[in-house]
């Protein structure tokens, strides 16, 4: 292995290490953001679960741009029965 290649590998190792740390640091923030997106979707389509919803023309106009949010909402419905596991998995290992 050449010196140059070794140096590159070390550089890559620290780069990945940094990336992992950055991801860990933003996990909670990301969880919060996903929750907010879920609430945003619920705000728009809350009439399905008995919440007051905006006028139909607003929801219909936004719906085509909201495929990610809708997927997220359905994913949340699937794990809704086990909220504790969801929180624990988000907090991760100590």
């Amino acid at each position: 292995m050449s010196d140059r290649s070794l140096l590159q590998r070390i550089r890559l190792f620290f780069h990945d290490l940094q990336a992992v740390n950055r991801n860990k640091a933003t996990e909670m923030l990301e969880f919060e953001m996903i929750e907010l997106r879920n609430i945003f979707a619920l705000l728009l389509f809350g009439s399905f679960v008995g919440m007051p919803a905006p006028p139909v023309h607003i929801t219909l106009q936004l719906l085509p741009a909201m495929d990610d949010e809708v997927k997220l909402m359905f994913r949340r419905i699937n794990v809704a029965h086990d909220a504790l596991a969801e929180v624990v998995s988000t907090l991760g290992e100590p």
Binding site: N23, L29, E32, L44, V56, H57, P64, A65, M66
Partner: protein
């Protein structure tokens, strides 16, 4: 003549009473309880304005059209010239609901192609009965009419009875309230997304301006703000509240006046249709509608008030130049 611009509910077209798409026309709305003579009054005013050399479009957005009976000619969603300067049309609201749902369904299909098996068309067939769609159809028809006939001197609307009219007049403001909340919420999400992207040093879609949802919200805000400003501006829109000399009509007119005041829409004129008798009812109106000019329209003026000849023989209770 202005180029025809069909309203695509999903398009980025906007309604402006300013800047790039100026609406020169003065908008006149005839509102009131069902059967008080909104169609008759609007027909009379439209004819008188046309006779005074103005270019006028009269559009009935009432699901129960009467204009064809008053002008004694067949009318439809295409404008028909009745006398020089006066075009009249009757908007089919059902068609607007259908068109809107069709556009929306087409848009849905292009995005949710994988959900074809859900038989979306069945859902859309039911959706036409969803609360709020009728007033939205009225608003779409109004916007489309104002765009197409923006160069007329006057665009006059013969409106539906009270409940539907108040709902569609409130729709721009109600929509703006919702959109303001949704916009703030969406920005909160995008702010968080930007922080995450910055920390992770990703080159993702963090830019707020690229968010399609916020873009659609901004388009809708533009549309409804334009409509709200247009309807509230006394320089562009005048409302004529029509009533008969009876208690029910008076009570409902008071309700309309209060609701429109809440929406910050001023009513400059009150038309007392069939204002016969000793004038005691006219006196009763004093103080009930502050700042409103009352225009008595006697029933005997043109009996029956149908047909061009009869309408021509009626004298307008104000000078057309004042409108």
């Amino acid at each position: 003549m202005a180029s025809r611009k069909p309203v695509d509910a999903m398009s980025k077209d906007r309604v402006h009473n300013r800047a790039d798409e100026p609406i020169h026309a003065r908008v006149l709305l005839f509102v009131g309880k069902g059967g008080v003579g909104k169609s008759t009054s609007s027909s009379l005013f439209a004819l008188k304005l046309a006779r005074a050399g103005k270019r006028v479009l009269l559009n009935s957005i009432d699901p129960a059209h009467n204009l064809h009976d008053i002008y004694q000619t067949a009318l439809g969603p295409k404008p028909k010239t009745i006398v020089p300067g006066l075009e009249v049309m009757e908007t089919n609201l059902d068609q607007w609901v259908k068109k809107y749902l069709k556009d929306t369904e087409r848009n849905f299909r292009s995005v949710y192609r994988y959900q074809e098996s859900f038989n979306l068309h069945r859902y859309f067939r039911t959706l036409k009965y969803a609360p709020g769609l009728e007033e939205y159809a009225v608003l779409l028809a109004l916007v489309d009419c104002l765009r197409r006939f923006a160069d007329r001197d006057y665009v006059i609307f013969d409106t539906p009875p009270t409940a539907l009219t108040l709902k569609f007049l409130a729709l721009p403001d109600v929509s703006l309230l919702w959109l303001s909340e949704l916009s703030q919420f969406r920005q909160l999400i995008l702010d968080k997304q930007q922080i995450i992207t910055r920390i992770r040093r990703e080159n993702g879609k963090a830019g707020r301006e690229r968010d399609p949802i916020l873009g659609k919200i901004a388009d809708m805000v533009d549309l409804y703000r334009g409509m709200s400003e247009l309807l509230k501006n006394p320089g562009t829109t005048s409302t004529f509240l029509v009533l008969n000399p009876d208690e029910l009509s008076l009570a409902e007119s008071r309700l309309i006046w209060e609701e429109m005041s809440n929406l910050k829409m001023r009513i400059p004129y009150l038309i007392l249709n069939k204002a016969d008798g000793d004038g005691s009812f006219l006196k009763r109106l004093d103080g009930l509608f502050p700042g409103v000019r009352t225009l008595p329209l006697p029933a005997s003026a043109g009996n029956p008030m149908t047909g061009i000849e009869n309408l021509d023989s009626v004298e307008l209770p104000l000078d057309v130049g004042e409108i």
